[in-house]
């Protein structure tokens, strides 16, 4: 009885669950910041910087704004982090089987990844600060813009594979080498939409430092802010893993260590592309972003869906 709960508990808390994701998140943040700096001809932070930032933030005092909803304010960072970590349990990382999987888990993963955005909105709203309010509203507005293209892009390989389970999709494409090329358009759309989800330039509008100070996080400090920052880091890893699992399904049959390395490579490839995109572009305005997402991204995602349906008819 103890044995049967110890292994899942270990998986959830340590590997490949919370602690592993936290460490990967910090590694991802380091790679992002170092690459960003080097692209700008600067030196960049040392390897230990994300951990040092986390420790420093945890050691600082937390201030609660007067009039803020105390319980919401305190619990939202935990909710966001928990949802992000839970989303990772359904994503196959280095084999074609995730920790837990069932038919329909792709929808569940996408919904779990939605919870952080909603919690940023609630956090900004609960802070009763002007800047936080504006940041919160922007986060939700942006959410309406990128979520549809993201859903469509991520669901199109599922249509071709004929299954709603991420593990099933990965297994389907792993068995048919070369079919992942049919989803290349979806991959592109997914990458741009993920920039919106992770709030990176050109879509870092909810946390535009020069406009609204800290956005939804303006009033957060100390451990709560450290948890929010960790949420953002882990979200990047989870989103990258999701994109890698669905659009880049190679190397899933390799033995343990090699498979793990291939997984790391895929995730960091996605992160490097995201960093490159954030280096070379300026931030858009919220109305420009909505226009772009609805006029360009969503139609492209539709094209991918139609292509998947046609191909499904032709190839089966």
């Amino acid at each position: 009885m103890m044995q049967s709960i110890l292994t899942p508990l270990f998986n959830i808390v340590v590997f490949p669950g919370f602690l592993f994701l936290a460490a990967m998140g910090m590694l991802g943040q380091y790679v992002d910041r170092k690459l960003y700096a080097r692209l700008q001809n600067r030196v960049g932070p040392p390897f230990i910087q994300p951990l040092a930032d986390f420790i420093k933030l945890s050691a600082k005092q937390e201030t609660l704004p007067e009039g803020a909803d105390r319980r919401m304010f305190l619990v939202l960072p935990l909710v966001a982090l928990a949802a992000t970590v839970t989303a990772s349990f359904y994503i196959p990382m280095w084999s074609d089987k995730a920790l837990f999987s069932f038919d329909g888990d792709i929808i569940v993963t996408l919904y779990f990844l939605m919870i952080p955005t909603v919690s940023f909105f609630l956090a900004g709203h609960a802070s009763t600060s002007l800047y936080a309010e504006i940041g919160a509203v922007r986060a939700i507005t942006q959410f309406f813009a990128y979520e549809v293209p993201l859903f469509l892009a991520v669901l199109s390989p599922a249509l071709l594979a004929g299954t709603w389970s991420i593990s099933g999709i990965a297994a389907f494409y792993a068995a048919r080498p070369g079919w992942w090329l049919f989803n290349i358009l979806g991959f592109g759309v997914g990458m741009v939409a993920v920039l919106g989800k992770l709030e990176k330039v050109p879509f870092d509008i909810p946390e535009a430092e020069t406009e609204i100070v800290g956005g939804a996080f303006t009033e957060y400090s100390g451990r709560l802010l450290a948890l929010f920052k960790m949420t953002v880091d882990v979200e990047a890893i989870v989103a990258a893993s999701l994109l890698a699992a669905i659009f880049l399904p190679f190397g899933l049959g390799l033995p343990a260590l090699l498979g793990f390395l291939v997984y790391l490579l895929k995730v960091f490839l996605v992160l490097v592309l995201l960093t490159l995109l954030r280096t070379i572009m300026a931030r858009l305005r919220i109305d420009q972003m909505m226009a772009f997402c609805w006029k360009i991204l969503a139609p492209l995602a539709f094209v991918q869906i139609v292509a998947s349906l046609v191909l499904k008819g032709v190839l089966s």
């Binding site: 700008q40 309010e133 050109p202 535009a208 430092e209 020069t210 406009e211 931030r283 305005r285 919220i286």
Partner: protein, 407 residues
Amino acid sequence: MATTRIPIGPQHPALKEPESFLITLNGERITDVAMRLGYNHRGIEKAAENRTYVQDIYLIERVCGICSHSHSSAFIQCVEEIAGLEVPLRAKYLRVLIGELERVHSHLLWLGVAGHEIGFDTLLMYSWRDREVVMDILAMLTGNRVHYAMNTLGGVKRDVTEEQAREILKAVDTLEERTKYYIDVATHETTLIQRLSGPGFISKDDVLKYGVVGPTGRASGVGRDARKDDPYAAYPELDFNVVTDDHCDVYGRTLVRVGELMESYKLIRQVLKKLPAGDIAVKSPRRIPAGEAVSRYEAPRGEDVHYVRANGTDKPERVRVRAPTMANLQAVAKMLEDNNLADVPIVIAAIDPCFSCTDRMVHIDRIDRGPSSESFEWGALRRKGIEWYSANGVDFTELNKRFEVRG
């Protein structure tokens, strides 16, 4: 969403210096802007009256860090005019050289700041890396990277050697290549163009009505430039174009400033080629005879006006500084009409604000009250302040309690 009032400033990440803009929003649209100035007032004009002209050169130079040479030159031009000094031609050319190098420095700095305000940090890093080239040149020529202290009564303090001239030309070649790249980026990068086109619109008529100066005004097609309209130093003998643009918005201001960078390189090369031999300063008396003078100088931000009144002693009687940002700030409210909140940082940054320059004493005559003035000694002024705030609802006992030290 209901109307909210959001304060941009006095402390805000978008502003490099404190100034208060109270923005009334309807959703994300701006409906009203209320400005309060004066956070950087340091009493420089009064301090200038207690110091000799020689000491004042350095005081007036420190009105601003980036347009320091502009202020110092405008001031010294006033004093030299009152004293009737004939500044040697070589000194005038050297003043132009430093002035144009300062313009290059300021515009490269602005390019970086504009990039930062729209979230384009890469542009910030690259343009500021190139700015180091011009700062090193200025350190070699004048002895410091900002606050050049080149001016003295009657001319300039330092000369330029042949070798230094060669270094300057090499640096200008490098910078010209980099500036051409920035022009390329500014005209081809979609996100940049999308962000900068549109906000901060001010028509040509409004520019004339509000008295907007400098690149801000030139971006609306008003080709006013003190170097052409009222030439000073060696500008009558130099050949250059006044860069104007018709976009009337922030994008136009970007194009004007990058265009002015190219014109400055042209000017620097001309100056070094035509530099005449001769003295770099004439001997000047310490006591300046009574008289008054106004002098205009084209600072990187626009037209800088100085007024000096002398009374025969070695200290000025009155010094007045009207910085270009003072003229441009009043048009910001007009520019922000009907824009989004997201555009406030870039519109404010597009006039290239220097609030340290701006915050001087302004005398306001109220039409409904008639002219009045009072003069206070320090203690009476403090008491009057406490009275006024108590009458307006500030409870001093509460404030004093909060500052108690917990032992």
